[in-house]
Amino acid sequence: MKKEIFEPFNVSDNNFEQCVKCTICTVYCPVLEVNPDYPGPKQSGPDGERLRLKDASFYDEALKLCLNCKRCEVACPHGVKIGDIIQLARIKYSKKKPKVRDMILANTDIVGTMASTFAPIVNPIVALKPVRRIMDSVLKIDHHRIFPKYAGLRFESWYRRYAEKKQNDFKKHVSYFHGCYVNYNFPQLGKDLIKIMNACGYGVHLLEKEKCCGVALISNGLIKQATKQALHNVEAFKKSIVDKNMPVISTSSTCIFTIRDEYPHLLGIKNDEIRDESELATRFLYRLIDSGKLKLVFKKNYKKRIAYHTPCHMEKLGWSIYSTSLLRMIPGVDFMALESLCCGIAGTYGFKKENYETSQGVGKPLFEQIESSKADFVATDCETCKWQIEMSTSLKVQHPISILAEALDVEATMKLWNA
């Protein structure tokens, strides 16, 4: 008999009709577990959608408590896009206007530009207790939160000044979507990526002006602006992928997830031409190694015990295998995988005063695992998970790309791939 593709028939734009009311999703929602004010994935998603279609007044503002972690979707046996249904409902029905605080938290690039320009002043000031108290009471940004430090020299400026010229010496090329975090807070990660890619024989280029992926704009309800930035990015990606035949890689799991999946699902922006070739650097490297086109040589003296945390969006992408496989290739690494659980920060969510308790409650089981892991440090692909884990546990967090860069024998690898 011939193979058939199973295509369930849906009347709605999203697929809430596929829900069989089994309630499995509610078991795995991290918010429902700690905050009873949240109606949970089934109620907020497919059940609520049925009501909202009848009458928009059934919309419940408590839906803003959803972390958009998508763990419900990963669990659902029937492929219901529960997280998307909830986010779309927020976009369509929420009447709450974003607050000044939300605008500040959401505009990671504008705030980043200002803050990194004045980094020597901004860093100590936002770290001061009295300042954090004021931010807490005026802006409702929880005073327990410590803002990630802003770098003095932005990644983009560093790149133009010190790295750009060399990149044309290579035979193969990729573009790099660095994201706000690398640009303003942690340029070192971008430098580490360039170090590895260059050793593997790839020149690394920046896009023609990248914009923030917009994940924080979406979650804070600034949809118009998010759409504008998304359209810009898709065009910039096309110039690299379609016109120059250069795939785009990134080191941020959330940026890449947003561009691949949230653009079409939540913003209705087509990305078919770029989606397949927009991916994480660890996946790009893994593919080369898996198909025999690359081998990494590591230093003999690197010895660390590393506990890997799977960020929610990595869980949804199913891609943690790429990062963890690369880490396991390092001979001196004693690797352990932490049970995949949400850390509770969900981007800007955990910074808001009203969410602080929920955020820490969600993360608690993960923090306990980390404290008992006996690891030297935690590895993870998401920058906001890094902040949360460093704020809430005694361990430091490193990105898999930075770990690889430290353990890599650059010269030996270079010799193999830059003949």
Partner: protein, 413 residues
């Protein structure tokens, strides 16, 4: 991405295959598009409960009377006997304690208040050796106020037939007020989470003990020990009278715990578990499946020496039925049940429905077939197999566990 073995489906069958193979050193991956039927598990694993409408007392003996194409007949009676004997230790290694005997069914009290024959029962629940007597005369059934998934009246009626007098009492506690606010969230898993996390257990046991003055036995819904298994023995110790737990409407607390413990066992043995990923197609060469493509991994194909299809029955979409045909959606494997749609159903709903026997066809060694030709390295296990009506026979978990262990042995040979 290369593994020794890849298993499609992460339910009871897929996990059983994966654990068995990993225990013997194979590098395995399981790909599962979502959570499985174990979430609805009653707490008892059935081997064979009924043949031709007659209750079975000795499953291993009665298996001999099943049709030739029944999965049990294809495993073979000697293998069945040996493998069934292995199962309790196999589960024990994952931290799951089950008891029972493949030569002699015991009984469990169902949430409908009826005694049902079964093979292995998880330690949470009470085993009864006969179906027509209950060891206690006066039973107190306790429910949680606002909890709609425990049908106390059915239990009361059922026990009446066994000459047991019962009383039903409701308990409310402030720890449950939060989840009660939202009636649809007053589910057994959410109650279990409250008990898992905090101090509610002592207060509840105190209330139950006060109420059970003058009764011989306390009956409660199984809402204990979702992630923290210890809670089950704690509640048993804290309630002074004998305690009988009964399954509530799914999702099932012991079921989810079982799923999690089996998955953790598989991962602890070095297995890779891909959840939330869908296998989309296979790539064949000379009667062999060389690779599969999944939704998440796209162009990075998953390769293995052997593959096992454990994708479940209609409910999990391992088998799909449209108006006019039944098919296996990933590879388009041969299925039994491609016949005329009008012959699928028996008008009488409770009769043995022909469509319930539909499933993937295999040769005698459980190889999948395409156009009548076996695929050398693609095996089929669990409820995706045709030839049995698991619901009618009471053979669901037995088929999943034993065909999976058998297939794992074929691969290890």
């Amino acid at each position: 991405m290369k593994f020794d073995n890849i298993i499609i489906g992460g339910g009871l069958s897929g996990l059983t295959c994966g654990i068995k193979l990993a225990e013997l050193g194979k590098k395995c991956a399981i790909v599962s598009s979502g959570q499985s039927a174990i979430h609805f598990f009653s707490g008892s694993l059935d081997l064979l409960g009924k043949v031709n409408g007659e209750e079975v007392s000795n499953p291993l003996e009665s298996i001999k009377t099943l049709a030739d194409n029944h999965p049990y007949q294809r495993v073979g009676i000697d293998n069945m006997t040996r493998l069934a004997d292995e199962v309790p230790q196999f589960l024990d290694r994952a931290g799951l304690k089950f008891s029972g005997n493949a030569n002699q069914n015991h009984f469990v009290l169902t949430p409908m208040g009826v005694m049902k024959p079964t093979w292995l029962t998880i330690e949470d629940f009470t085993r009864f050796e006969t179906k027509d007597s209950f060891p206690w005369k006066k039973a107190l059934i306790i429910n949680f106020s606002g909890f709609l998934d425990f049908h106390t009246l059915f239990i009361k009626d059922g026990l009446k037939k066994l000459d047991v007098t019962t009383q039903i009492k409701n308990v409310s506690m402030k720890q449950f007020e939060a989840i009660r606010k939202n009636p649809s969230e007053m589910r057994s898993t959410n109650i279990a989470k409250v008990f898992d996390n905090g101090d509610a257990l002592d207060e509840f046991a105190q209330k139950a003990n006060d109420l059970s003055e003058g009764f011989d036995v306390v009956i409660l819904p199984a809402v204990f020990g979702l992630l923290n298994k210890q809670i089950v023995s704690e509640i048993k110790a804290k309630i002074l009278k004998p305690l009988v737990l009964l399954p509530a409407v799914p999702p099932s607390v012991p079921g989810i715990r079982s799923q999690i413990l089996l998955r953790k066992r598989f991962q602890a043995l070095g297995g890779t578990y891909f959840l939330g990923d869908n296998v989309e197609e296979g790539f064949f060469e000379n009667n062999r499946l060389v690779a599969i493509a999944t939704n998440n991994h796209g162009d990075i194909k998953l390769k293995a020496d052997q593959f096992i299809l454990a994708s479940g029955s209609f409910y999990s979409k391992g088998i799909v039925a449209t108006r006019d045909k039944v098919y296996e959606p990933i590879f388009g494997l041969d299925v039994n049940g491609e016949t005329n749609g009008s012959e699928w159903k028996d008008e009488k709903f409770f009769n043995d429905q022909p469509y319930m026997h539909f499933g993937v066809k295999t040769d005698s060694q459980f190889h999948a077939m395409i156009n009548g030709e076996p695929v050398e390295n693609l095996f089929v296990a669990g409820s995706v197999l045709g030839g049995a009506n698991a619901l009618k026979e009471g053979s669901g978990a037995g088929i999943s566990l034993l065909t999976s262990l058998h297939v794992a042995e074929q691969i290890l040979k």
